[in-house]
Amino acid sequence: MDAARETVEAQIGEWLAFMHRRRELSDADAAELEDHLRARMDDLVSFGLEPDEAFLVAVKRLGSLDALTREFAREHSDRLWRQLVLDGGGQGEPAGSTRALLVVVAWAVAAAVLVKVPALFGLGLDDHPAFYARNAGVFGLVPLVAYFAWRRAVSRPTALGLALTCAVGVAAANAYPLHDDAPVTVLTALHLPLALWLTVGVAYVGGDWRSASRRMDFIRFTGEWVVYYALIALGGGVLTVLTAGAFKAIGVRPDVFVGSWLLPCGAAGAVVVAAWLVEAKQSVVENIAPVLTKVFTPLFVATLAAFLGGVLWTRTGIDVDRDALILFDLVLAVVVGLVLYALSAREPAAGPDRFDLLQLALVVAALLVDVLVLVALAHRIGEFGFSANKTAALGENLLLLTNLGVSAYLLTAFVRHRAPVVRLERWQTGYLAVYAAWTWTVVLVFPPVFGFS
């Protein structure tokens, strides 16, 4: 009899664990339902059922858990959103989440303080803007690398590798005798954050960067992080404007405070907070980046098609000054991003649909634009020779061209049922290593090659 009772207790325990995994149900709800279950079981046992039979009947009478949670969710839809902020995120920190919140706030404050450390040594933001531009990646992302290394409890070799990489990044930004206005300085300021972001990726996956699926997780994380960071920046902007206006109204000019404290410290702290938010909501709400992808893919196809039409119509080549080059690199990067985020949200088993055709159109249009840019660029390099900017632009274009070319091939194969979509996924996740190699090359090799002039 006792053994039977024990089995039933184990079954109830399993049932409870199942309830606790449902985010729609609070602990109090689960306790209330458990009380109900036990009361029903007691009655059934008193009618002569065995405990395990009583358990089965009682569970059945409670109704299917799906229907139940749906009703609870309808009644308590606010809970989903509250958990967004207050629940540590399911994995890692358990739901006793004030602690998780405090830890993140501490990390954000540490990141914000780091921004102000150079000012102690006489490197103020107002007098040395170039220093801060070069080191923006360092200030913003090194704390994030540390945060994930700590959060994932990475192994000692991984921690050492991450620390070394960050040190190299700091050295690249500061050890070369770079002139403040030199083109290579701008290139470093642009590429170091990208290189360090990929280092964040290694920390994010806990050092397991060889795993394709973990890399995909990092790509998803990147998209969500960008969305959260933009939202925080918008909110912060509104807050800043309102605060500044209010203080001006009473005759206090907060310009210095806003410019050299609020903005830089807020921007650095928000990096960590956004990362934590992405983690915290991971399993609650559908990811937003893939939704944006679905919205913007058709629009980008239309834009690129219109642009190509315009080139044909006017019969002019592309005028490649520096801004135009950056612009086209950005366009191509956005296209790669659209491919990536559509990929990140796919059901792996689903077959091709109309959206994949649209993606193929997008990639082909981007390839054509890229070829036009490359032709113009080659023309210009032939005329004026290699410079840091043009070499960087050329490299990036070739990089993205290769990516898009192979993507177009794999997408075609997929649409024609010749290859599974996994191959495209492998290609894209594998390509992250190429980005890492390229960005570190620009940061480390370009300054000596193109001179410190």
Partner: protein
Amino acid sequence: MRIGKDLVAASTTPLVLGILAEGESYGYAILKQVGELSGGRLEWTDGLLYPLLHRLERLGHVESVWRHPDGGRRRKYYRITRQGRAELAEQHRQWSTVVEALRGIWDDAQVAVLPRPVPAD
């Protein structure tokens, strides 16, 4: 006889409020009482009572308290509020009207119990 889903849904609120009007109670006991009152013919899915109770609580018709008897299980009790009593009175009026109207039809026309052919004209 199974009572239709819509009718069950419509009658849950007055039933629960009516049971609670007699004194505070908890989910399982409410359910048992509903079963007794209807002779077992009014069947609810047990679990769905709780979202309903939570809704009534949110609307302010009932309030709840956790009780922890010595040696017993923690149990959540519900109690009707003054506003809940007003709601119950209102529901009572509405249901009485509906019941009276139905009775009127069934008593004097003697229809509906048995189907019969539609007159030709």
